[in-house]
């Protein structure tokens, strides 16, 4: 159940018009920064791409600010809206 190694999980959300290669592009960006993907939830709602990706940044080679900058670039190029936040914010807000 509990993993011996401490993880720092961040949640990425992606929304935008569906097109080829969104996940591939994001997964590559994560791999380049040595970030492990632990969970992906993806859905298409009326041609609208909606995805959450849980990633572990414990061994990341760059800091959150840089990760966000790279994601911002991808968001601009692919006309997507991408957010990237520490998982604890969601836990604090949505768990009593």
């Amino acid at each position: 159940m509990s993993k011996s190694k401490k993880q720092q999980i961040c949640i990425m959300t992606v929304t935008g018009a569906d097109r080829v290669g969104i996940i591939a592009r994001l997964a590559t960006a994560m791999a380049e920064a040595n970030i492990n993907i632990v969970d992906v939830n993806q859905n298409i709602m009326e041609d609208f791409f909606v995805m959450t990706m849980a990633v572990d940044i414990t061994r990341a080679s760059i800091d959150t600010e840089k990760i966000k900058k790279r994601l911002d670039r991808i968001a601009k190029e692919m006309s997507l809206k991408i957010t990237f936040q520490d998982e604890n914010i969601f836990k604090a807000m949505h768990r009593v």
Binding site: I11, N41, T52, D86, M93, H94
Partner: protein
């Protein structure tokens, strides 16, 4: 258990569309140990401390902002009430002005937009240093940009110090005359029952019961609550109260998480979460619009007081469930100039000063950021203050007044205070109120707290 997609998107939508943020992170700094009989040595010490801590606060707030993806809108500093620091120094107004300038410079160097604490607690009486500070307020606040002042003129335990209330009327007039559109008055709040850990300007200060440093946080503004109320246009009021409670629970939890983290990184005590909803003039970020989304045609019309009281109560219930550290003012702000809905209501004549006073009897902060003609006599200003503070004293709660006489302006003119302070239509107030009552001075005794019917 991992959070669900719906939960994630609820938070993301709040941030992207409804101004979900941390409204303010305010570091309280004790300056008592800097006290010196030499003003230059004293100023040097306080500047060193404020600059070091202010830079650190800004840096760590940015790191935390990146980590959680929630904007931290304001980073501020509050200090020990300056009247205490003035005690051993020469009793001259210029000494107090010098300290204000030193605080201003420190705030500027630390990139802090507002620093609070240029004030005194005089609910029962005034020391020589208190009197000195009060006389220096017009100069100190008009010659500085970032320094905010406060005066506690009344409390439930002491009653209302009418000597100080009378004096304050003149001080506010003088301060107004020294600044464009009276904007200096936007940096001065007078209180009854002032809390010593309030993170919001202009009344923030670091009280004498506080530790060396204390990190206080103000939760998200009203945009998030307005949007959930608007999404429930027809549900009955008990249910609506539940919806508000649940939302405020969430935003308070976010505030607490981020506040605790910054405090830990700074290695200072975490103080309180202030659950006041603080509006800005950005579209949708308005308390008046929450009341209107509840079904009141325009804030100020009959029904407003009941709706606002329900809103404030639901906010308190949700917030206190979310955090054991709720404190500060924790009401709901209804400033005129900083809330687009309030401005509209004044322009439409739906809201006048009398109804505004009634609204403040059910929500914490009092008559806030409202403009009156510049020729309003000092006694009228004092009388407005006395009325508002008596609401706080009798009801055992905080009330405040931030009144801005605008030189040369007439009723209906628009006064611009610049930046975050917004702009406000000049409201009508009588040209004569209670000159003989105010001239009596003395103290209105502390009220009976038993036999409360």
């Amino acid at each position: 258990m991992r959070v669900s997609v719906e939960e994630v998107f609820e938070t993301v939508r709040m941030t992207l569309n409804h101004h979900f943020d941390i409204r303010t992170v305010t570091l309280g700094i004790n300056l008592k140990d800097c006290i010196d009989r030499n003003i230059n040595r004293f100023n040097e010490r306080i500047q060193k401390r404020i600059i070091a801590k202010g830079i650190q606060l800004n840096k760590l707030a940015e790191t935390t902002e990146h980590k959680y993806g929630i904007p931290i809108t304001n980073r501020r500093i509050s200090v020990t009430p300056v009247s205490l620091l003035l005690e051993p120094l020469p009793s001259k107004a210029e000494t107090a002005v010098k300290i204000a300038k030193a605080l201003d410079k420190a705030a500027r160097n630390a990139r802090i937009d507002f620093l609070g604490g240029f004030g005194a607690l005089v609910q029962k009486g005034m020391t020589a240093a208190d009197k000195n500070l009060i006389s220096a307020i017009p100069q100190a606040l008009s010659k500085t940009k970032r320094v905010c002042g406060f005066l506690n003129l009344a409390s439930t335990q002491a009653g209302i110090n009418m000597n100080a209330v009378e004096r304050t009327g003149h001080i506010i007039k003088k301060l107004s005359a020294g600044t464009k559109d009276g904007a200096g008055c936007a940096k001065l709040t007078v209180f009854a029952n002032v809390p010593e850990d309030n993170p919001f300007m202009a009344g923030a200060h670091h009280g004498t019961g506080e530790p060396d440093f204390s990190l206080n946080i103000g939760i998200s503004g009203p945009g998030v609550v307005r949007s959930v109320v608007a999404q429930n246009p027809k549900c009955e009021l008990t249910q609506l109260s539940e919806v508000i409670k649940r939302t405020v629970f969430k935003i308070t939890r976010a505030g607490e998480l981020i506040g605790r983290e910054i405090a830990e990184l700074m290695k200072v005590d975490f103080g309180i979460v202030d659950i006041s909803l603080a509006p800005t003039t950005s579209a949708g970020d308005s308390v008046a619009e929450i009341v209107e989304a509840m079904g009141v045609t325009q804030i100020g019309r009959p029904g407003s007081t009941a709706a606002l009281s329900m809103l404030v109560d639901a906010v308190k219930k949700g917030g206190s469930m979310a955090s054991g550290n709720v404190g500060g003012l924790s009401g709901t702000f209804i400033p005129i100039s900083e809330d687009a809905g309030m401005i509209r209501a004044v322009k439409a004549k739906a809201l006048n000063i009398e109804k505004l006073e009634a609204l403040t009897s059910v929500c914490s902060v009092g008559l806030d950021m409202f403009a009156v003609p510049g020729d309003t006599p000092a006694e009228v200003i004092s009388a407005i203050i006395a009325d508002e503070l008596s609401i706080g004293v009798i009801n055992n709660k905080t009330t405040g007044v931030r009144i801005i006489p605008v030189p040369g302006a007439k009723v209906g003119d628009i006064a611009h205070f610049g930046g975050l302070l917004g702009s406000a239509p000049v409201m009508e107030v009588p040209k004569i109120a209670s000159p003989k009552f105010i001239a009596r001075k003395g103290r209105i005794p502390a009220p009976l707290t038993a036999l409360r019917n």
